[in-house]
């Protein structure tokens, strides 16, 4: 017998699926579909358009109050929407920097005018965001920022450099952590601002990565004026504001185990099994090699473990149990390391073909596998290195004492 709820769920799932079929870019998920080059105007436009399309249809914007543009739906509908979107490997729009970091930070710390002004346009994809945290001398030791702001009337005048900025090229606004009290102690000397990327004195340039692309950039502040009202949280307490964004960013996880079929998407279990069945070495299918069967099965286990853990935490949240916010360090590390292990495994499946990159007629799947392997060497570095996350797990979750730091 089908319960009333499960009947409703099936009908809703079909509704979402049909909507996706109609609204996804033409040919999506098929070999005929050619995604725009990464980090181009066209790619940016696709992301913005897709975000707006989803938002207008009520399939995005969850987790925010209505008055700031949030879309309110029952949990079970949101769950089905997320599942169906994951199954299709939809374009990247709704997971932009704005939604990932700026939104949660502004919602948590923002003044009323900031929430009203910025949140709705983050949710509908109209405005694009970046964040200025890392600096050449402030990587894992993020509190060591040098970029400084000096008060001048109603403004702060900013000088310095930021690096490893995602979405650097297209951002309309940015989040910025700067030193506002050079005399104060660590963690009590930083403030957090929203800045306008069209401000005079602001410039940006690409940073070429080992994958050959420039997903990240550098930002330069030469006497850039930021109005005092753009302060987020209290003056000199910006470190604690930044922690919100960092945690939110880590919670994004990596696209592991999803059934992404986009050209730029990454392999799931089915695609790896298919590759192993199609690929022969020394006259024998890789899939028939017991060692590869073991490793591919291990990948399946870990992907399923991520799903099951999500379900477990979801159930706990529904029962009103508190989940340690530092848990994001656990899932971030797990997904990033799984991603690299599986990329390495795929390279071994490809054998000599793992040397062929995009543009080579011999590149498998247009060079996507190899690109992914190169790109996601960064997975264990960006959003907090695996080592920093292990410190967080050990110190914040398990309660172990901090190691003495040289600049304590």
């Amino acid at each position: 017998m089908v319960s009333e709820q499960s009947g409703k769920e099936t009908a809703f799932r079909k509704q979402v699926r049909d909507w996706l079929k109609t609204n996804l870019p033409k040919g999506w998920g098929t070999p005929e579909y050619h995604a725009p080059e990464r980090q181009t105007e066209a790619a940016q436009a696709l992301g913005e358009k897709w975000t707006k399309t989803c938002y207008d249809a009520g399939y995005a914007g969850f987790g925010y109050p209505k008055e700031y543009g949030g879309i309110v739906r029952p949990d079970w509908e949101i769950r089905i929407i997320r599942e169906e979107f994951t199954l299709c490997g939809t374009p990247p729009g709704p997971m932009s920097q704005g939604l990932l970091m700026a939104g949660p930070t502004i919602l948590r710390w923002g003044q009323e005018w900031q929430k009203k002004r910025f949140l709705p346009k983050i949710l509908n994809g109209e405005e694009s965001w970046c964040q200025g945290f890392s600096e050449p001398d402030a990587g894992s030791d993020l509190a060591n920022v040098r970029t400084a702001a000096v008060r001048d009337g109603d403004d702060w005048v900013v000088n310095g450099q930021k690096v490893w900025t995602s979405n650097w090229m297209f951002a309309d606004f940015g989040l910025l952590v700067v030193k506002t009290d050079p005399a104060a102690k660590r963690h009590r000397n930083l403030s957090y601002f929203i800045f306008d990327c069209t401000s005079p004195g602001f410039s940006r340039r690409p940073l070429k990565q080992m994958s050959g692309e420039s997903e990240f950039g550098e930002m330069f502040f030469d006497n850039v004026r930021i109005p005092h009202k753009n302060l987020l949280g209290e003056l000199n307490m910006g470190w604690y504001v930044a922690l919100t964004g960092l945690a939110a960013e880590r919670s994004g996880g990596f696209a592991v185990g999803g059934r992404s079929t986009a050209r730029r998407g990454w392999g799931n279990m089915e695609s790896i099994v298919e590759l192993a069945k199609e690929t022969k070495h020394y006259g024998k299918a890789v899939w028939d090699d017991p060692l590869f069967r073991q490793r591919i099965a291990q990948f399946a286990i870990q992907g399923e473990a991520m799903r099951a853990n999500g379900a477990l935490q979801g159930a706990m949240a529904r029962q009103g149990k508190k989940i340690d916010p530092n848990e994001v360090s656990v899932s971030k590390n797990f997904s990033a390391e799984l991603r690299q292990h599986s990329d390495d495994m795929v390279m071994e499946i490809l054998g000599a073909y793992s040397q062929m990159v995009e543009g080579s007629p011999l590149a498998v799947n247009g060079g996507d596998w190899v690109y992914g392997m190169l790109r996601w060497r960064g997975a264990t570095i960006e959003r907090g290195t695996s080592e920093i996350n292990r410190n967080i797990i050990a110190e914040k979750i398990l309660g172990l004492p901090r190691e003495a730091r040289g600049n304590d």
């Binding site: 899939w287 017991p290 286990i301 656990v330 410190n391 309660g399 901090r402």
Partner: protein, 379 residues
């Protein structure tokens, strides 16, 4: 419905189990049982029966508590946490469930109420010389003589045989291309003349194993369980459940190890600082925490899938067993490493968990075996 969270009654069961085991199953008891040939006491078994555990998932009509498989898994997690010795899974899962599923009403009436009230301990004698739990390994023959079947041969790696009052014995009654076909289940009283139980010296002394020899044992028709030649599926089903419970024991044991290590790393001082402040140590602990978290998620999924008879239950148990097995071994190994010299001593309890992790990894197939079964799902 698949429910990953635990409800209020399950929280209560967990608390009650933890209190009971702290009081009745301290390490002094476990260590005494390591030196005991049967590996359990009647007194301890009676106490477990009094709180309803020995019949936890059996129907009320047979004296059971009629609780769910997930409840049982929560209980096993606590038992694993305390490396509880004794024939709990052997009796309630590997023996009682085949009787419940394949038995005649008379057989159920004879065995199940006595198992539920703690009067009877049982074990399944399946594995032979190859040490693997699989139908092809069942070669000990039973041949018909009138109404009876006559058993002659030996079983090996039989858990808890000295504590057991009755055995559920898997015998080969027909040779066929499909090894699952031709296996018959017999209920045998341990005190029958012609049964010899020889203790095997095992690494994990909290889990006793034996060689059991059967010399022309006559099994009357009323003690044949289920249809002749069709017995394997009941053992397979019971083993799936027992495997899911071993996953719970492994997660529980792993969590004891982690908690013990964290406490030690906070208090043990070297180079003028607690060793837990050093990244080399804290990163080990972070890795243990991370892997245990995912092991728990898979274990919960497996337990729920089994409870719901989900079509994916086999896959879920394969995945959970492989991952929990690897995780518990890794965690227990690091448990010794983090404790340094003291962790390597007989007096410290860490080696009990280390040895349990090795023992449970081999039971019902190790991680490699289960990963191969997972691969077969994608063939």
């Amino acid at each position: 419905m698949m429910e990953y969270g635990i409800n209020e009654e399950q929280e209560m069961l967990k608390t009650m189990a933890r209190d009971f085991l702290a009081k009745e199953c301290p390490k002094t008891f476990t260590r005494a049982m390591m030196n005991d040939q049967t590996g359990i006491t009647k007194d301890y078994w009676k106490k477990m029966a009094d709180v309803g555990w020995t019949g936890l998932i059996l129907p009320e009509q047979y004296g059971g508590a009629n609780m769910t498989f997930r409840d049982l898994s929560i209980l096993c997690e606590e038992m694993g946490r305390m490396v509880m010795p004794g024939p709990f899974v052997s009796t309630l899962v590997m023996s009682a469930l085949p009787i419940l599923n394949a038995g005649t009403e008379a057989q159920k009436q004879e065995f199940l109420p006595r198992i539920a009230n703690g009067q009877m301990i049982m074990t399944a004698a399946v594995t032979e010389t190859d040490g693997d739990f699989w139908p092809g390994g069942v070669n000990m023959q039973a041949y018909p003589r009138g109404e009876d079947y006559i058993l002659t041969g030996a079983k090996s790696f039989v858990p808890d045989a000295m504590a057991a009052d009755w055995f559920l014995v898997a015998c080969r009654t027909k040779t066929s291309a499909d090894p699952e076909e031709g296996i018959t289940l017999c209920l045998v009283n341990k005190d029958d003349w012609g049964i010899y139980v020889n203790p095997l010296k095992t690494m994990d002394e909290t889990r006793k194993q034996y060689q059991v020899t059967f010399n022309r044992i006559a099994v009357p028709a009323k003690y044949i369980l289920g249809e002749v030649n069709k017995g394997w599926r009941y053992l397979k089903d019971a083993a799936l459940r027992a495997t899911a419970l071993h996953c719970a024991e492994m997660v529980g044991g792993g969590e004891w190890v982690l908690e013990t290590c964290v406490e030690y790393a906070k208090t043990r001082v070297q180079f003028g600082a607690p060793i837990g402040s050093f990244q080399a140590v804290k990163h080990h602990l972070a890795n243990m925490y991370t892997q245990l978290e995912y092991a728990r998620a898979l274990m919960v999924w497996a337990a729920e899938s089994v409870k719901e008879n989900d079509p994916q239950a086999d896959l879920a148990v394969n995945m959970a067993k492989a991952y929990c097995g690897d995780t518990f071994k890794m965690v227990a190994g690091l448990g010794i490493q983090i404790h340094g010299g003291i962790g390597f001593t007989w007096d410290h309890d860490m080696h009990l968990y280390f040895k349990r992790s090795r023992a449970l990894d081999t039971v019902f197939g190790d991680a490699n075996y289960h990963r191969e079964l997972i691969a077969q799902h994608y063939d």
